[in-house]
Each structure stands twice: as C-alpha cells, then as structure tokens.
C-alpha cells in the first residue's frame, strides 16, 4: 500500500490558470523523490497538495484525489495530517512561531498532542540530530539563516513524520550546509519529497525523479534513468560546473578597489578583516564562500551601502546593488514606476529597461502580482536601468531554475564590457558559467582575514 497516492489531480488557485494538470503518482515508504521543474511548473503546489494545504488553505478548483496514509485530503485538514506529514518551507523566516529555539521545536509537538513529558526531550533530541543542540536556549532572532533552517528541520523531524516534504529547503545554504541538511532529512527514515532548483545537490541522494512542466508530469523515473532523460531532453538540469564564454578583450580601468577593508556590525566581532579586491571594467568577478563569511557585507561595502571600519574603498562612477530576494522589496504600485525610481522617475527609460528583460506589457501591473520569475527580472531591470559602472548582484540565482540562470548569465556576459560586475553566489554552476575570476572567502572568522584562494581565470 502506497504511503501517498495522487490520482488525476488537477488544481487551479482562485482566479488563476491550472497549476497542476492530471497528475498521478504514488510514493512508497523510504522513497526519496526529487521534484524538478522550472519556476511556476507546479512543484510547490504538488507538495502543498501532499500536505493537504491545497485545497484547504489556498482554496481553488480541485479535481481528482490525494490520499495520505489512506486519508483523503479533501476530507482531512492539513492540521490533522501533521505528524504523518511534515513540511519544511523555503524561507525559515516565514515559518517560525516562537521566540526561543526549544519552544519553536516544541510548537508542532504540542499541536499534535504529544504527551507533555515527552515534548521537551523530543525537541532537544531533534535539535541534537540536526547538530543544533547548542542553539536550544537561543532567541530565534539571533540565528543566521542557515542555523534557522536547521532549527526548522528539527521542528519537522521532531514530529517523526512518515512523509517529509521539503520545498527548496537549501536555497539559502552554501554547498556544505545544503549537503548536510539533505543528508539529515534523508537519514530520518521518512519518505521524502524534495523540490529543488539545483539538481546537482539533490540527484545524488534521490531514488526517483519527477519532472514537472506547466503542471504536468513529463518524467517519473528512477534516478539512473532520469539522469539519461535529463541529459538528452533537459541538459541544463544536469549541467556540471563548466566555464561559459568569458572575456576576450583587455580589461579597462579600475572601477572599484577595496584596500585592507575591515567591517564589524558589533564592536570586537569583525565580519570582514583586511580584505583586498580590485574590480575592473569589463570583468565579471564571482565572490564565493560559506554562509556567514561576509560576502553580502563586502557587496555592501563595494557599493557604498556600508562604510568600512578600517581600510579604504575607492570607487569611480555609479554603483548599483541587487540584494538577495529582491522580489520582497517593492515600493511602487506599478512595475514601470518601480523601475523608474532609480532614474528620477524617467518612465520611458524604465519601460525600455522592462522591455529589454522581456517584460513588455507588464508595465502597469502591480509588482506583487507578477510571477516570481517576473519579479526577479523586474528587480534586475531596476538596477540595470541606472546603467551602473559597478553592478553587484547578491545571490541572484536563489530560487531560480537552470534555464533562467542561463539567461541571466548570458545577459551579464553580454553587458560585461561596459562595466565591472561582482556576483556574490555559492551556486557553483552559475559561478562557472559567468565568472572571469573567482574570489573565495574561506573563513570570515579567520584572524588572518579573508583569504583570496580563487584562481584568476581568463
């Protein structure tokens, strides 16, 4: 008997096109199912259907049937499935309820009626399992993104579910952190359904792959056969890090130079120490390194959003920075007005920038009504419209599928000669496709500072 069964499921969110079309699949105990597909292909919706959140939480038109442990989700609320099913969402900030770590992990256990005396021991055990026992008494607001995602994983594992749903859980983590988190989830013994945009992380641990396209299942196969299919039909999804078309001409003048730069958010706790970097017109430099190594801080120092506590930053011309998760930070009610903010309200210029990123016809739309992919392009248009001499992008591929990553890499390469470009990322495939030079930060806490270990390609 399958643990989960989806039969001819078709679903549309209220007032929207179908997100899932005639999807059928079965998941057995112990399986590790990797769900792949472009943004908007229905991956998250499928996971929500397995959790019962579709249709109960979202409403919409639901046809077909989903059964979890022989319970029909149309008549069983998601809260009643909790314990059998546990879900880890993409952004940990959006799922944390309590102010202290142990209480946070205990929240789900309390909800599912765990005997009171077992709650704290199980919460502490789950924290220990994910290597977060030392965080037990910490306030959640003091945790880094990676630590918080581990706490959220502990919250799901504490429930001892038989079906674990992971919705792009590693998008904010560096490669080591992502690998560790996936290993922990898989070692729980539950059947796992994992949605990912970086297949190179998940394929090695999966037993089966489901590929969605426009809400339809176009592949459902064991991982070995899926690799072959992906290689021949969707080669971008199995891409290994490889160099794209890099700079061919001479480098131009220096646009930005960081000399012996240090920075600390709190006295005595430097995030960046004695860091040197030179960015010249015509080159694309990738800044890589683990979570917490100071990459985003360097991006802000380079663009002048932060002033160094020591050392100097010399910059010529205009600098623009695209922050992580830019779709969240929209200010205006129209897409063209949002883009025009950076150019003093020049709407024709903003519309031209939108057009160059394939957003013609979306000018009057509210930015929050755009799809996630369109929001990303809108955010990119908002910085490109300023025609900066220094363009800095902080984790621009977070939650971005391989096809859109390739588009972004192509665009950055095409525009590279006119400016200096710094890309902060721990996406190895993207870094290899776009970089002329890679600067890697080995450790933010190293007293010797941030070590330049990346080879200068090209």
């Amino acid at each position: 008997m399958a643990l989960a069964r989806v039969e001819r499921l078709t679903f549309a969110y209220p007032g929207a096109e179908c997100a899932l079309r005639d999807v059928s699949l079965e998941i057995d105990a112990g399986e590790i199912v990797l769900v792949l597909g472009a943004s908007g292909s229905g991956k998250s919706t499928l996971l929500r259907a397995l959790a019962g959140l579709v249709p109960h939480f979202h409403g919409g038109r639901f046809e077909g049937r989903v059964e979890i442990d022989r319970r029909d989700t149309r008549t069983t609320r998601p809260s009643a499935l909790a314990g059998t099913v546990a879900t880890l969402f993409q952004d940990p900030e959006d799922q944390v309820v309590a102010t202290r770590v142990t209480r946070e992990v205990a929240f789900g256990l309390e909800n599912v009626g765990t005997p009171p005396r077992e709650i704290v021991p199980r919460a502490l055990h789950a924290l220990a399992t994910v290597g977060a026992a030392h965080l037990a008494d910490r306030p959640v607001e003091e945790l880094s993104g990676g630590e918080l995602q581990r706490v959220c994983l502990a919250s799901t594992l504490a429930l001892e579910p038989t079906l674990l749903l992971l919705d792009e859980p590693t998008s904010q983590l560096d490669p080591d952190g992502a690998e560790g988190l996936l290993e922990l989830a898989i070692s729980s013994g539950a059947a796992v359904v994992l949605s990912e945009q970086r297949p190179e992380r998940a394929l090695p641990v999966a037993t089966r792959v489901v590929f969605l396209e426009a809400g339809r299942v176009v592949l459902d196969a064991p991982v070995s056969r899926a690799r072959e299919w992906l290689s021949s039909h969707r080669p971008l999804w199995t891409a290994e890090p490889s160099r794209g078309t890099q700079r061919s001409g001479e480098l131009g003048s220096t646009v930005c130079r960081l000399d012996g730069v240090s920075f600390a958010y709190r006295p005595g706790q430097p995030v960046v120490e004695r860091f040197d970097l030179e960015l010249r017109r015509g080159e694309v430099v990738v800044l890589a390194g683990p979570n917490g190594s100071g990459k985003s801080t360097i991006a802000k120092l380079a663009t002048g959003l932060l002033d160094p506590t020591d050392g100097i930053v010399v910059r010529t011309g205009r600098a623009s920075l695209l922050l992580q998760d830019p779709g969240r930070y929209v200010v205006r009610d129209r897409a063209d007005e949002e883009v025009a903010l950076g150019v003093g309200g020049d709407l024709p210029r903003a519309r031209s920038a939108l057009g160059s990123l394939g957003l013609t016809g979306k000018e009057a739309r509210h930015p929050r009504d755009l799809s996630s992919g369109e929001r990303e392009r809108l955010a990119l248009a908002s910085v490109l419209v300023t025609e900066p001499d220094l363009l800095v992008l902080d984790e621009p591929t977070r939650g971005v599928d391989p096809e859109r990553k390739r588009e972004l890499a192509t665009r950055l390469r095409a525009q590279a000669p006119g400016r200096a470009t710094l890309v902060v990322t721990h996406d190895r495939v993207f870094a290899a496709s776009v970089a002329d030079r890679v600067v890697s930060l080995e450790s933010g806490s190293d007293p010797e500072g941030l070590t330049l270990v990346g080879a200068a390609h090209g």
Binding site: S79, N111, Y329
Partner: protein, 232 residues
Amino acid sequence: MRPAAALALLAASVAAALLARHTLSVAVLALALLAVCVRAPRERRWPYLVGTGISALALFVVTPFVETLGSHPLWTGPIVPVLGQLDVTHEELASASFQACRLAAVGLAFAAYALLLDHDRLLAGAGFARRSVLAVALATRLVPTLERDAGALVDSLRGRGVEVEGLRRRAALVSPLLAGSLERGLNLAEAMEARGYGRSDRTRVPSPPWTAAEGLALAGAVVLVALGAMWL
C-alpha cells in the same frame, strides 16, 4: 527564574514607584531597574534606555513651567498667554525631579520586561486565551522581523541610488512594509496549519514546579508594594 515571578517583581516595582512619596526612594528604584536593564545586549537595550531617558528629562524640564507650586521662586520669566507668568520655584523643581524619577522607573520596568523576559514561557504559562496568547507572542516576534525588513527595504532602494531621507520618504515605506508583513503573515499561517495548529488534541509543555527562589520573588513583590504604599 520563571517569567511570571520576574513579571510580578517588575509590576511590584512599578506599583511601588507610583505609590512612593519620596524622590530618593523612587530614584533608588529606578537605579535598581537600570541595573537590571543593562544585562540586556547593548544593541538591543539602547533604544529603550534612550527613550526612557529622553522622556524623563523632558518631563523634568516641562513640569516647572506648567505647574504652579511653592513660594520660593528661583527664576521669574515673562507672562505667556494661557500659561500665565513663567517661573521656576524650589518646590516645582523638587516635584519635577520626583515625576521624572517615577517616569524613569516605569519606563525601565517596561524595558526590562521587553528585553529580558522569555515571552514564550510567560505567555504559555498564562493557561488561558491561548489564541490571544499566541497572537501576542507572534507580535513580539514581528518587531525584529519588521526592523530587518525595513533595513533591507532601505538598502534595496539605496542599492538603486535612491536615498531614503526625510520623514515623507520614510513614511512612504510604511505601505510596502505592511504589504510585505501581510505576505509573511500568510506564509506563517500556512506553515502553522501544516504543523498542526488548530487541532483539538493539543497538549502543552509542562511547567516546572515553583522553586523557593521564585516563591521568594513573589513574596518580595508583595513586600515591595507594601513598602511603597507605607514607607517609601
């Protein structure tokens, strides 16, 4: 110490400060509360301490001009419509000091509550109105999240060359911040439902038995109120 006992002590300190009649007593109370507050991390405590300090100072400055008290003027000023003749007397200064110390004590007690108490445990221990209790806990957590979102929003604009200066421009950020909060709220509600929130068979983490120190703290709270009412 369990948060309920600590809260009782803080509430008793506020009651004592409001009941006491001597400036020195209230000043000592305020200093004791200040000593408690400085245990909080520096970057978190400064808004509370600065806010309390400015409020108390403002009260001290304004009180002599709006109060009419005593017959030993230290300074006599011009006649101002509505307020009459401005003057500062010895008695008014004493009263201003007293009121300022009182306000400082109340402000510092609130700062200690906000900075040092474990709101999860405090509210979970309430044992009633669980939905309201959770709403308060979530609101408490929302403050630092909003603060971070506001910072990121400003950075996002500065990254495009748009400086956010002046009251008008900052006020314009309220609406997008609110929209972002609503998005987060929806996501959180979904995550809570997925974690079983709303089930009828809910249990709760058992509270540990009261310790002697916590009992003593409760008794101390009662004594403090009595002292404030009768002798301070």
